[in-house]
């Protein structure tokens, strides 16, 4: 990258007044270590103050800033401009979600589905003390690494099964379901199995791996979903209780 300037092509849309979305182009000076978040912030602060987007932590922990950047859902704060390999950046809102304005999407459908799998832990009543679980006992399978999900919705925006079926609850919610169902401390695992085993659940996943491809935390929801499918089948045969 030789030029010290970025061409940012940014999606603009106000559903209340605009009939059609449009793209605005901005020239933004390139700075060292520039993240895409810096680009949109520069535009909003100093060029077009009406731009709307969402962010909070700026270090990839809150999962608020997911956008569709140069062909992929990514976290704006964790996407270095340099890593895109070009000075032309096209920024759109996260797919598969309604748009509030410009780059800010309404995460409601995502969380509606998240809630569907009863995402909250319900402890077994006999467990009154923190469980004693040795790290090498294998009891936690690979739950712990799958708990890193920051509910950014990148996977949800990338999965074309979500795009074509508004009922599919999507990789993030299923991944969360797995972490609970495989948690031996949890009391309502069968209830959850019955939710993810419905037709809007695990069966809609066809191992596209788009979710894993875009997950900023490098999770592989596909793997969690496979574990759930297995348990659904086992449960049918009365093996998983």
């Amino acid at each position: 990258m030789s030029s010290r300037e970025i061409n940012a092509k940014i999606f603009r849309y106000d559903p209340e007044v605009d009939a059609e979305p449009r793209f605005d182009e901005f020239k933004v000076p390139l700075i060292d270590n520039m993240a895409v978040l810096d680009v949109v912030m520069h535009v909003q602060n100093y060029i077009d103050k009406t731009l709307a987007f969402r962010c909070s932590c700026r270090i990839g922990m809150c999962g608020s800033c997911a956008m569709y950047i140069n062909g992929k859902p990514r976290l704006a704060c964790r996407t270095q401009v340099k890593s895109l390999g070009t000075n032309n950046i096209t920024i759109m809102p996260l797919p598969n979600l309604p748009i509030i304005r410009d780059l800010a999407t309404d995460m409601e459908p995502f969380f509606e589905k998240w809630k569907k799998i009863k995402p909250y832990y319900v402890g077994k009543s006999e467990l009154t003390e923190p469980a004693v679980i040795r790290p090498d006992s294998g009891e936690r399978e690979f739950i712990d690494q799958m708990l890193d999900c920051i509910t950014c919705g990148c996977c949800y925006g990338a999965c074309s099964m979500v795009a074509t079926n508004e009922d599919y609850i999507g990789p993030a919610a299923l991944n969360r379901a797995y972490t609970l169902i495989a948690d031996k401390r949890d009391a309502i695992r069968i209830e959850r199995i019955n939710v993810v085993g419905r037709s809007y659940g695990v069966w809609r996943c066809h191992d596209q791996f788009n979710c894993a491809e875009v997950c900023p935390k490098k999770l592989v929801p596909t793997k969690s979903i496979q574990q759930l499918k297995k348990r659904c089948v086992l449960q049918k045969f009365g093996i998983f209780k």
Partner: protein, 110 residues
Amino acid sequence: MLVNAITWLLQRISAALLLVVLGLHLWLLYVANPAEIIQFSEAKARLVTGSYVTIYVLLLLFGLFHALNGLYTVMVDTGLRARLVTISILVILGVTLFGVGLYSVVQFIM
């Protein structure tokens, strides 16, 4: 629902078995007997001598289930609502085709 897990499993099982029988079918056609034009008598001779009949009946059974269940999956994936109607049609279609296919197989061994 109950059936989801079962049909999903059957789709895998049929796939695994298809791998064998369809593999054999293709092997017979392209590697073992790469004929210019298949003749009824040759085909008949093959079918009668080998116990290929079983293979072809299985191929029909698994192939049809796998194909029609696959089709159903595709439809549900894209938001199919009229599930019962669709299932009924697919089942009728499947049974009919199975009958028709069986008829063909029987022609070869008679």
